[in-house]
Symmetry: D2
Subunit: 338 residues, 4 copies
């Protein structure tokens, strides 16, 4: 931690900061510059509340040296984390994990149709939402527990793993019973009590980036889960909110190699919610894999114009099959498997 004093900070103010740092069992090193005094702090700053120090009289600002996350950091664990879903299905290794399916579970016919298409395409993990957070209270909110049962029974029949969103702490048992992966949506990335609860289970968690979360906040959210004992966390870049309105969000693909530097956790990309346009899904899937993503979470719907949720961003099974064909040489070219 570096503490920058104000230009005309008094000696008593400087001394008070030194004392405060000492009390925290850290070592302050004052550096008397030509314009300002700077106090470098030696020791692990992470457990310290910076606001505490920045509110001392005479302090101008406090700057961190260490990244604030620890368990999620590649400094702590060098090798890549591989999340094992059982039955040979893994996320984070050489094989790209394709997670595909409809935004919302709607009916048995729909799920059957998708499941058989996804299976045919070589997909191992089927997505489908039963609880949908919706901006407008007038929108379809999902089938709830009936949707969960549909998802899991159809998936089992086809030998697919599942991923579905959990939005309410009270649903942790029922959702946990029916899914192989808890999905935490963008709006819940900082729902800390929900993170804590999924952290207490041993079920893999896919954590979506908050739409205005920095990468550090994203990794700190993962830290909330890991601190509670669950290290099976997969991160998911799904676009951030910017001034651009032509796409639903702005897919920040540089997040992928950057996360790979900062963390050992797998990183997945969602080309559907990030762009909001089906024509952009295929090129952005390719780009994500070329950038080093470990998996793709994509909306596929047998009949987008009848979809009860986000139909305008789903691609059709035939488009998905074509994409899978095109991905084969590409994944090979970047040294991955599909």
């Amino acid at each position: 931690m570096i503490i920058v004093m104000k230009k005309f900070a008094e000696n008593t103010q400087i001394e008070r900061v030194l004392e405060t740092v000492n009390k925290l069992d850290l070592k302050p090193v004052p550096l008397y510059g030509t314009e300002r005094t700077v106090i470098a702090v030696i020791g692990d700053e992470r457990p310290v509340d910076q606001h505490h120090i920045s509110s001392l009289p005479g302090v101008d600002k406090v700057m961190s040296i260490l990244d604030p996350f620890k368990l999620a950091s590649r400094d702590t664990k060098h090798e890549d984390t591989i999340v094992d879903l059982g039955d040979g299905v893994t996320v984070g290794g050489k094989k790209i994990a394709m997670m595909a399916g409809p935004c919302a579970v709607e009916s048995e016919t729909q799920m059957e149709s998708i499941a058989s298409e996804m299976k045919k395409a070589g997909v191992q993990i089927m997505r489908g939402g039963a609880y949908k957070p919706r901006t407008s209270p007038y929108s379809f909110e999902g089938l709830g527990s009936d949707g969960l049962e549909l998802l899991s029974s159809v998936a089992k029949r086809h030998g697919l793993k599942t991923i579905t969103e959990i939005v309410d702490i009270r649903d942790i048992d029922i959702v946990g019973k029916h899914t192989d992966i808890f999905q935490i949506g963008t709006r819940n990335m900082q729902n800390f009590n929900l993170l804590k609860e999924v952290g207490k289970t041993q079920k893999p968690v896919l954590l979506k980036r908050g739409m205005s979360a920095t990468i550090k906040e994203f990794l700190l959210a993962a830290e909330h889960i890991m601190m509670n004992g669950n290290s099976k966390v997969m991160l998911c870049e799904r676009g951030i909110r910017t001034f651009e309105t032509e796409t639903r969000n702005t897919l920040a693909l540089a997040t992928v190699p950057l996360i790979k530097e900062l963390s050992h956790l797998p990183i997945i990309v969602d080309p559907s919610h990030s762009t909001g346009k089906p024509t952009l899904v295929s090129p952005m899937t390719k780009a994500a894999i070329a950038a080093g993503a470990d998996g793709i979470l994509v909306d596929v719907h047998p009949n987008p114009q009848e979809a009860l949720c986000d139909g305008d961003q789903a691609i059709k099974p035939e488009t998905f099959h074509k994409l899978m064909e095109e991905l084969k040489p590409l994944t090979e070219a970047v040294g991955r498997l599909l």
Copy 2:
């Protein structure tokens, strides 16, 4: 709703859109332009899922005409909503509602000191957090139910109303028992199940704007609460996230008069979390009131450098007293009462 067809949309595609609109009991009016066909839709578009229509083949984009919120809209209710907290304390009328106190409840001494200072300053509503959502899992998370009891007992002793944040659906009874206003924080603005639950009570709710929420999404979040039967909603502008890092957030004060145009709900401003700097609290409080805000939610702490939460943005009681003095002529000049 206006449906814009693609430049080379086929007749069968246009006909399918017309049919679909008819099925929704709305009236489509096709307009055949020189370059494109546009279909204007007459009727109430709010219950319709636009994504449904925008995913139809040949459709380029769909644009809304009506604002998507209804209960929160000034079109629906012309006169200002005044939220009554009992004992003559109201929010939304001529009198500016000052809500002041520490970010976190820490101890009886702290709360007693603040309560007597706030009372002296003419404040009617005391704030204080018992459950604190924290970006880092290594930060102080509040005293929980002990904090709630401290807050309510001290407030009662001093004849003050209270406001405190609720972060977990499971706490609705205990928080409701101890506070006069539920505060929904920025990270929970789209925690729809939490909105629904506070909407089922009759306790006033202060809803903070999500840090990357548009004004429309903000009003739709209020709509989620109101739809469940609770119309005692106060909105709170607390800064949005932008590229600027000198201030913690960017206080978007034009939100105040804009909300007044769009909605009948009271609008409060938080000059503390929005700026993150105690020196900016007084000028931005004045600016907020000049812009038409109905109240101010401000961090005051007897000893900011000992604060367990956000001490670096709190002002001291003496600064607050001075601010109240300065606000007197200003509120009068803009036709309000303090």
Copy 3:
């Protein structure tokens, strides 16, 4: 400057950094922490290119201690700068400088009408654009030199000072001849050669904040002008670009008191371009003055619906007169003059 080395930086890398700093005539102080080595640099870091150091092997990041601007800094000059326009008209003192007029100069009738209205309202500085930067090449681009002459002759007749935008280095003489203040628009805040040229004159400059410029970049742009010898710089907050689309830009009013802390230059607010809505102009003007602004730059047009430029954000003279009436008690309440 603080140089943070990578976690596993080698000794030879650390030594190379120490050497490099020594060569720059600065004093490096290495601090060997538990996880990383940090090198504090003592001396004036401003002339040093940080990128130079951050590209050295083993360096993780470089953090500045000092603000990068010097001439514009309040650390350098304590007292407020007051820009003198002659004939008793000043900007930056106790009196609020109202700068009002149409976005574009259109005709003598229009300018005469505005000038007499503005004079009557007590305005001392009339605005009016002759060269208009327009997003679309199909829009009206201003009357050019004819517009300049209209502006200056009408203003002279009414005893008003003038402000007009300069967009092209080649126009410096002709614009300089006709105006009392050079306005640098948001799109030219980092047109460094234009800044340099107006910096070589002694004519006052109103510098608008770039729509995505940080406050530091804004002050550095002022520094470009001041370095060339012209210290008569007025800053103008005109809204920044964010995700919000209900207003044209997001007026970041906390910029006002923050600039007052960081710099001695006057700060003006433009409530017209920042909001893009005439109904928001009056409340945001009041808010700006309450926040401590030294002046207001506002679009007034005798007939907004006939305006050739941005008519949808201009207010009418009668609205302006009413605003001036309402501002009187407010400016007094905050200790300023109108």
Copy 4:
């Protein structure tokens, strides 16, 4: 164009809008809805100033139907534009155009070294800045005309084409004499007079996206050039400004396929300025090509830590050679040539 009237708009206001539209030689179609009247306008709305109409009394908002650009639009020209630089070098066809070299031209040694490395790597276009726009007035601003001569003479010797930035209208002849491509930087994307001047030449232009420009504004900037007669425009995505600070900018790669839909112009990606980190250059180059980019503009410097400009984002020639090797199978996999 769709004109939405206010909820309680009067008949005389509606009639005035109809009249105004008629006068513009467009056909208004009024639609009387349950809550509001909407007026659809048939005809080419592009030459009309929307602000003009949105300022009419009773008008709530005006929405465009047609994209505001015409010459740059794929609706106007279906097939991809291929920019021919002579000697068989083209941009926009099957071959990926690699444009590589240092941020700033510094010396003959530096340029010779880079040129021979780039030639060896198969690069056809060398970049190098002679005029550098710099945020701080204390930074290196380029060698000016000496730099231009160095660039062109070295490039000629090695049979390379060149690209260099123009920042000042007065330099159009000298820069034009020495370069094969005018580069317009992000800060000048809306320097309309500069766009006009390069538009009057027949030299190819690489137009960088403004750091806070929407895609529509980006294409409108291209339109400014094309309207003046020069259709040899290449667009360049170089990252936009967002709240994220881990990377210098946020590379918005979905821009690539989106531009391909909206426009016939080639689209280049700059992985260096967009990320600001050399370790992210290779993955983002791969991602850009997988997304469909027509070329890459990349900072390569023989000795980044001695670079006078942006050394911290440049990659070394050896890294570049390795990248080119890795790109071969990838470009093939996506059906392009390197």
